[in-house]
């Protein structure tokens, strides 16, 4: 497949998977919190497209897009949301603890900022082991406020580690706007640069632009040390859960609409159509193909068994039952 189409497919797949989750969630069969990345897919897809197979990524609470873009298994993902034994964590993790080692998606955990340090450590450890690997740390605009970002960034620069900090600035932490958390007018990227690493800002709703930037940043990381990307984007739905929530008052419908106009999927599609790489027919076919894949994954997840009761006490320690 043409690379641009591949990128589009990746975007669309993330979108359709999460839209399906949003659709199915009210049935209350996925009994775990879900932080959807709908609206932010281009950041995940653009960054991951710049990586090599042996590279790794880690993420936080909002990791669906990152997991999928990095190649995480869809069936295992959905089964995890349904709490099933076939889930990527055997049901023990739920939406906030995704992992797919084979795909190099090395874990997501939902304490804001914590995996930033682990990503830096993974890069450090990889280098010690002689592996030429870039590790991406996906983080949000709130995560940079945590001390752990500061500490991890300092160490990464000190040791010139192959880490890419990919910050999706979606303007909010839960329902708290940037204005109550960071000084007005201060750029996250500029502050990151003050640690001694290159930092770029980009349009996180444009997968191609993100990819272009990410290529630069990854190349830098691979050879020279850490790099930082601030990707501006916007979460469409509520912080946690499947619904829209522009009516509750922390942001305006107008702001949402302005961002929705910049839909990373639709705008990329339009571009591809213009470039004659795509038409409605092919798009429909692609959607149908993806829908079928998702259907199958949902069926797999729903039909999979729950873990056996004895699993409760397994995996606490190595070797134990």
């Amino acid at each position: 497949m043409n690379a641009r189409l591949g990128l589009y497919r990746s975007l669309l797949r993330a979108r359709l998977v999460e839209e399906r989750i949003a659709e199915l969630y009210p049935a209350q069969e996925m009994r775990c919190p879900v932080h959807l990345s709908i609206g932010q897919e281009a950041a995940a897809v653009g960054v991951c497209a710049a990586l090599r197979p042996g590279d790794w990524a880690l993420s936080g609470h909002r990791s669906h897009g990152h997991y999928l873009a990095k190649g995480g298994d869809l069936k295992a993902m959905l089964a995890e949301l349904y709490g099933k034994a076939t889930g990527c964590c055997g049901g023990k993790g739920g939406s906030m603890h995704f992992i797919d080692r084979k795909a190099g998606f090395m874990g997501a955990t939902p304490i804001v900022g914590s995996t930033i340090a682990m990503a830096v450590g993974a890069a450090f450890g990889s280098r010690l082991k002689g592996e030429k690997r870039v590790v991406v740390s996906f983080l949000g605009d709130a995560a940079v406020e945590e001390g752990v970002f500061h500490e991890a960034a300092n160490f990464a620069v000190l040791k010139k580690l192959p880490v890419l900090f990919a910050c999706e600035n979606n303007l909010y932490s839960v329902y708290s706007p940037l204005s109550v958390r960071q000084p007005k007018g201060r750029s996250i990227a500029k502050q990151a640069a003050s640690y001694g690493m290159p930092a770029w800002t980009g349009d996180g709703n444009d997968a191609e632009k993100t990819l272009a930037l990410a290529k630069k940043a990854v190349a830098w990381a691979r050879t020279r040390g850490p790099a930082f990307l601030e990707l501006s984007t916007y979460r469409w739905r509520e912080h946690c859960g499947p619904n829209y929530d522009n009516h509750i008052g922390y942001r305006t419908e107008a702001e949402f609409k302005a961002w929705k106009k910049r839909d990373p999927v639709a705008s990329f599609k339009a571009r591809l159509v213009k470039a004659k790489l795509l038409d409605e027919g092919r798009d429909a076919a692609l959607r149908a193909e993806l829908a079928a894949e998702i259907d199958a994954a949902v069926a797999f997840a729903r039909e999979s068994p729950y873990p056996e009761p004895k699993a409760l006490l397994s995996d606490v320690y190595a070797g134990a039952a």
Binding site: Y25, A143, G241, P309
Partner: protein
């Protein structure tokens, strides 16, 4: 009396304290947002002003230090974390600093602050959103720790905590927040350091920590069906612990079952059993029994999480064994609500 949910009771306590004492401030992630920390802070910023009721950067450790520092100027901060787990980032400030602030300066200072820690449970919260590490804080002299099990206590203990001149860790169970019960009006206080006999009985003492008191009360109902009279003691305060109340009850009943919202190992239930062994040696006619969450992190899937928490059935079973009832327990209809929510109105995602 009018009924309030635990969350409403807490909101009322905060509102009254903010109104009464201009030194009180309320801070935490999401405090002024539309969800208002599970409803506990709704409208308070509007009413008391953005200077005193405010959101903060995602920086639990530093902001706890900021709260402690504000006490130097006479401020009495109430800080809230939507999950206890997030506050692990702040234990340095809470335990090294605030807990010792009075002692290490020879009594010249004090740290009148309240740290509200919400304990998650259910709906697949998982390993990092459902810990209840109250035993940690209870271990530390210099801190006070309370854990209300019903709305009225949530209100009364929170007011006492805010008015107290020492740092108080307020353990706020997510499922207590949605309980609805009678709550008195006005600035009502419940004393820090006193347990509450939630139900009097003679045959066995069921000690409940936080939300487990609710399960103990259910267990007492079950036991009553079999003619066993259970006394339910709601600890409410974990430091100081109401030793007298515990000892008086077990001296009366001679039997002890302790149910905790956290792990039994090195937890509050261990302390209660040790206390009784030390100070009421010979009073127990049967071995004490502890019920805590399973000795593992709390998994996300309901298939396993439901097994991780002690429920009334197990508490009753422990009490039955303790009083020597050996036959099978009476069969009971299967619960009508799923086990991973406190009631049917709770539909997640948090």
């Amino acid at each position: 009396m009018r009924q309030l949910t635990g969350a409403e009771a807490i909101r009322e306590a905060l509102d009254l304290c903010l109104a009464k004492d201009p030194s009180v401030v309320l801070m935490g992630l999401g405090v002024p947002d539309p969800k208002g920390v599970f409803g506990t802070t709704l409208g308070l910023q509007k009413k008391h002003g953005a200077d005193r009721v405010f959101d903060m950067p995602t920086a639990e450790n530093g902001m706890t230090g900021v709260a402690l520092g504000a006490t130097l100027a006479g401020i009495r901060p109430v800080m809230v974390h939507q999950r206890l787990d997030f506050a692990l980032l702040a234990v340095e400030q809470i335990v090294n600093q605030a807990a010792k602030w009075r002692y290490m300066f020879g009594g010249q200072m004090g740290a009148p602050m309240v740290v509200r820690l919400v304990v998650g449970r259910g709906w697949g919260q998982g390993t990092q959103h459902a810990q209840s590490l109250h035993a940690w804080f209870a271990h530390v002299p210099g801190l006070k720790v309370v854990a209300p099990a019903r709305p009225a206590d949530a209100k009364g203990l929170l007011i006492s905590a805010i008015e107290d001149d020492d740092p108080v860790v307020f353990i706020e169970h997510r499922w207590m927040q949605v309980l609805k019960d009678e709550v008195p009006e006005g600035l009502t206080r419940e004393p820090l350091g006193k347990a509450r006999v939630a139900r009097a009985g003679t045959d066995v003492t069921l000690v409940g920590v936080s939300y487990m008191t609710v399960e103990c009360l259910r267990a007492a109902d079950y036991l009553a069906e079999e003619g066993v009279s259970a006394e339910v003691l709601d600890l409410r305060s974990l430091r100081p612990l109401d030793e007298d109340a515990i000892l008086a009850s077990v001296r009366k009943t001679g039997r002890l079952v302790v149910a905790d919202t956290s792990w039994a190992f090195c937890g509050v239930s261990a302390e209660v059993c040790a206390l009784v062994a030390e100070k009421a040696h010979g009073a127990l006619k049967a071995a004490p029994r502890r019920l805590g969450t399973a000795d593992c992190p709390v998994p996300s899937t309901p298939a396993l999480a439901n097994l991780a928490y002690p429920r009334a059935e197990q508490i009753a079973a422990a009490a039955r064994a303790s009083v020597g009832l050996t036959g099978p327990a009476p069969r009971r209809a299967a619960p009508v609500i799923p086990l991973d929510v406190p009631d049917t109105s709770f539909t997640g995602p948090f």
